[in-house]
Subunit: 294 residues, 4 copies
C-alpha cells in the first residue's frame, strides 16, 4: 500500500554529526566553513560535556547553493576541519532514506505502531523486511505489504539462523535494526556488526528490572511507577546506551496483567520516539551514553 | 483478518453501574443482595461525593452460580433495591460485546491505534463500520477488513447525511460512537441520540484551547506543556464530561509542526484509554463530570 | 512559634485499617457493624488482591453518635468481627495526634519542607525532637522552636548512640520516625523496634540505584529520567515497602550537580507525601508491598 | 541567620543574553569575539526561531583572562557587534547578586520554599524585603531574619500604597519582584516599572482557569489533571509570558480542598524553578513568549 500522506517535507540537506575533544573555537570553525561556502544552516545544536571535555554538535544545512559538490563534502570537511581537530564525524544526506529491518516475535503493539507511522508517511524510512522467530505476525506484514521472513530459533540452530538473517540484511542493504519486542538475545557477533545501529525496547525503567519478566518483578517489588526504555543494543544485556525512557503511575490495584497492558502503551511510544530520533540523525553515542539533540 | 491473539480472558459476569442519593447502608445492601444470591464478587469499587451527597458504585460478579436468572436480574434488582433507593443503574453482561462506530476524516493515527488493539484482541468490541467524510482512509479500513462508508459533508447536505449515518448505525446495531479525529461538528440531534455514548478526542488540555487549531493556539501562547483530552460529546462544543487527559512537555524549540507531531502520540493513547474504560463499563457521568473507576 | 494557620479541619472520628483473607461478605459485615451502631461513615475504601486472596480496607466514621463507647470499640470489633475473620486490624482516633521523630544529617531541603508544613498546620502531627549525627542543622531546629538532639556517630559508638536515641524517643513517646536525608544506616535492632514506622527517602527510582551515590550512578548510566522513592525501612537496605515515587526528566546536559539539584525537589515532595499518607492512616503493608488508599 | 551551606560555586563570569533578526554568521561572530579576546566559554546555547526569523543566544565566559576590561565589555560589544546586527542584548556579571522583593499575602508554602532555598544557599540572591498586604506571615520573615513591610491594601488606598512599595523597593535597590501567592492585582503603572521582572505563580495550568478560584473551576469542570504556571506579569491578568508549568493527576475522588492541597506542592516548585531560571539569566522574552535555556 502507498503512503497515505507524506507528513514530512522533502529537504535537500546535509547533516553533520560530530564529537571531538573540546577546545576553543570549534563551533566558530564549523559554522564559518558552512557560511563561507554558502550553506544555509537550518538546524544547529551543540553540547559541551565540561567534565569529560568533549564537544558534540549536529548541524544541518541546505545543499542547494552550497559551493562544495555533494560528493566532495566529506573529503573537504575532513581535510580542513575533521582531521586537524581529531573529530569523530558522520555526514548524512536527507535524500538518502535509511533502510530498517524490523525484528518481531509474537507481540504486535510495537509492530503496528511502527507500521502505522510508516504508512502515514511520518518517517523517512524504508522497511525492506520484517524478520521473526515465529510465523505469528506474518498476516500483519502482508497486510502492510512488507516482506516477512521466518527464522525459527532453537539453541541448536541459533548461530546458523543469525548468519542467514545477516546475509539477508546485507542483501537488502539494511542500515539499522529495530527489535520491536523481539524475544531473542542476539549474539555478540550479530551485535558487533551493527554498532549503535540496533534499537531495542525494554519493558522496564532501566536499570531497574533488567532481564526477563520485568512486569512480574515490578509487581513483586511494589513500585508505584513503571517504565519503558529504548536503547542501543550492546553485547551486555539491557546495558546499552539509553535513547529514551518514559513512565506511568501504577498502584496496588494493578495486577501483573494490568501492568503489562499499561506498559504496552509506553513501550510502543518510547520505541517509536527512539527510532524517529535515530532516523533524524539526532543521536550521538559516547562512553555508553547518548547525546540526543532536540 | 482474524484476531491475532485474544488478550482478554472471557468471563461470564454481570456488571452493575449505580449512582443515587447517598445514605447509610447502600453499600451493605447491594453487596448483601449479591452475596445472598451466590454472586461471587470479582470487582467492587465505590465513591461517595460528600459535597453533592451522591453514591457511585461499580460491581462485577460471576453469573455461574448466581441464583437469579440472568434475564430477571434487572427486574429483581430494581424492585428490591434500585427503585426504593432512587437509583440510576445500568446492568451489563460481559458476553454482550459492544458495537462501536468509528468516525474519521483524514488523519490516521487514532484509527490505526484503535484497529491495532482491535486486531490484537486487546478490546472486547465489534467494529461494524468506519464512517468518514473523506475517502482518504478507505484503504486502511479495507486492510483491516472493516466496512467503510463515505458520507461527504457540505453545509447543504449535512442534515441529510447525518440522518443516513444514524440510519446506518441503527441498522448495524451500533452501541456507541468514537470520533477518531473526525473533523466535523455533530448536530445537536445526532448528539442527543447517543447521550454519553460519543467519545471524542480533542487535541488540547481542555478547557484550554477549545475549538479549532489548538496547537497553533498553544504555540502562540507559549505554553510549556501540551495535552490531549478525551470526553463524551455534548451539544456544547468541547465542553462534555472529561474521561481522560494526558500531557507532554514542550519548549521554545517546538514549532507548531513539532507540537502537532508530539500531540499525535498523546491523542491516540488518550483516546484509546478512554474507549477502553468505556468498554469496561467503568465510567459514570453525573453533572457533566465523570467518575472513572480503576 | 505557633501554627500559622490550621489547614485541616478537626474531626472526632475513628479509623479502622484492616487486612485479612478474602471471603464473601466481609465488606457488608464491617459496614453493617458501623451502620447498626450509628457510625456515620465519612470514608470507605477497600481493595481485594485476588491473586493473594487478601482483603484490605480503610474506613473512617464519626464518633459523635456512635453507640459503642470509644474505649470499647476495639474489644467489640475484635470479638464480633476481627477474630472470627482472622483480621489484622488497627484502630486509630483522629484526635490522637501522632508524634514524629525527625532524623537529619547535613542537607536541609527535606527538613525545611516538613517544618514548613508543620508550621502551616498542614499536618496533624507533633514533632517532639529533631535528632542528628551533625550539629549542622541545629539553627534550623531552633528557628522553628523544636528540640534538637546531637548524637555524633562513629563506628565505635554507633550501638551506644542508637540506644540513647531509642531511649530518648521512648521518653518523648515517639510514634514513628522520618529519615529526612539521614545519612546513617540504622541497625537491625533499631529498625525492628519500629516496624513499618520508619519512613525513608531514597534519592533514586528504586530499585534502580540502591545504595550510595545514586545521582552519580544515574549520570554514569545515562538515564533520561531520575526519581525519588519513599519507603518504610526494613533491615534490608533500600528494599522496604515503597510508599511513593516520583520522577523528572533529565538529559545529556545534566551534570551530577544538576541531577542532584533537580532531585532535591523530588525528594522533599515525595517524602512529605509519604509522611502525609502515613499520618492519615492510609497505608497498609503486606508482604513487603503497600496498599496506599486515596 | 547565616546561609547554612553555599551550594553554588562562585564564578567570575560574564553572561550575554541576545536576540536579534536572524542571519548567517551571528553565532560565529559572537563566539569569535569571545575567543579572540581570550574569553573561555563555559556555557553556550542558542536557538533560531525560523518562522519569526529571530536568533536567540545565551553565552557565559570567564573574565579572568578576558582582554577587554569588565567595564568596557558592553561598549565594545555594542559597537562591534550589537549595534551592527540590530541586537537586543543584556550583559550580566555573576558576582552582581540580584536583589529580589518577595510579595506575600497569607499563604506560606511558596514563601517557605523560597526562604529554605535562600537559607541553604541554593540561590545567588539577596532578599532585602518581604512585602505583604497582611501581617500574617511576619513571624516567618522574622524567623528567617528578613525585613517585613506591611502595606494593607483597600480600594481607596491602593494607588498610594503601591507608590510606597515602589519607593521602598527603589531605596532597597530591588532588581526584580516575586509574587509568592500575593493575592492582589498590581496596577498597570507598577507592572510597567518592572517589565519581565515580576514573576507570578498562578495556581492553574494556564491558559485554563485564569483569574480567581482556579481549583474550584477545575473541580467544576471535572479535569483529570491540574497544574500550576509561573509567568512574568504583564498588565493583562494571567496572560504574561509563561516561564514554567507543571501538572499532577487528579480524579473524581479529589474535592476542591484536596486539589488545593495537591496544587500547593506544584505551585511552590514551579515558582522556585522559574525564579532560579531568572536568577541564572536563562530567560529571554520575545512577543509574549519565553526562550528558557537549559
Amino acid at each position: 500500500m502507498e503512503t497515505i500522506r507524506p507528513l514530512h517535507e522533502k529537504r535537500n540537506t546535509a547533516i553533520l554529526l560530530i564529537h571531538c575533544p573540546d577546545k576553543q573555537g570549534i563551533l566558530a570553525t564549523v559554522t564559518e566553513f558552512l557560511n563561507k561556502n554558502k550553506g544555509n544552516i537550518l538546524y544547529l545544536d551543540q553540547h559541551v560535556d565540561r567534565q569529560e571535555k568533549i564537544f558534540y554538535m549536529r548541524v544541518e544545512w541546505e545543499l542547494d547553493n552550497f559551493s562544495i559538490p555533494r560528493e566532495k563534502i566529506g573529503e573537504y570537511f575532513n581535510t580542513l576541519i575533521g582531521a586537524p581537530l581529531s573529530m569523530y564525524w558522520r555526514l548524512y544526506f536527507s535524500d538518502e532514506i535509511p533502510r530498517m529491518a524490523l525484528f518481531v516475535s509474537k507481540m504486535s503493539h510495537c509492530l503496528f505502531d511502527i507500521l502505522a507511522r510508516y504508512t502515514a508517511g511520518e518517517w523517512n524510512v524504508e522497511i525492506p523486511c520484517i524478520i521473526s522467530n515465529h510465523e505469528y505476525l506474518k498476516p500483519v506484514a502482508e497486510r502492510f505489504g512488507i516482506d516477512f521472513f521466518y527464522f525459527p530459533i532453537t539453541k541448536a540452530n541459533k548461530d546458523e539462523q543469525e548468519k542467514k538473517e545477516i546475509e539477508l540484511m546485507k542483501k537488502l542493504k539494511v542500515d539499522f535494526v529495530v527489535l520491536a519486542r523481539y524475544m531473542q538475545i542476539l549474539s555478540k557477533e550479530f551485535v558487533e556488526l551493527y554498532p549503535n545501529k540496533i534499537i531495542n525496547i525494554h519493558h522496564s525503567f532501566l536499570p531497574a528490572f533488567a532481564g526477563a519478566k520485568p512486569y512480574h518483578a515490578a509487581h513483586e517489588r511494589g513500585v508505584k511507577i513503571i517504565g519503558a526504555t529504548s536503547h542501543y543494543v550492546t553485547s551486555q544485556l539491557d546495558a546499552g546506551p539509553i535513547i529514551e525512557q518514559n513512565v506511568t503511575r501504577c498502584s496496588h490495584v494493578d495486577t501483573v496483567e494490568k501492568l503489562t497492558r499499561k506498559g504496552r502503551d509506553l513501550e510502543k511510544i518510547v520505541l517509536s520516539q527512539a527510532v524517529f530520533k535515530h532516523l533524524q540523525r539526532k543521536i550521538l553515542v559516547y562512553h555508553n551514553r547518548t547525546v540526543v539533540f532536540n
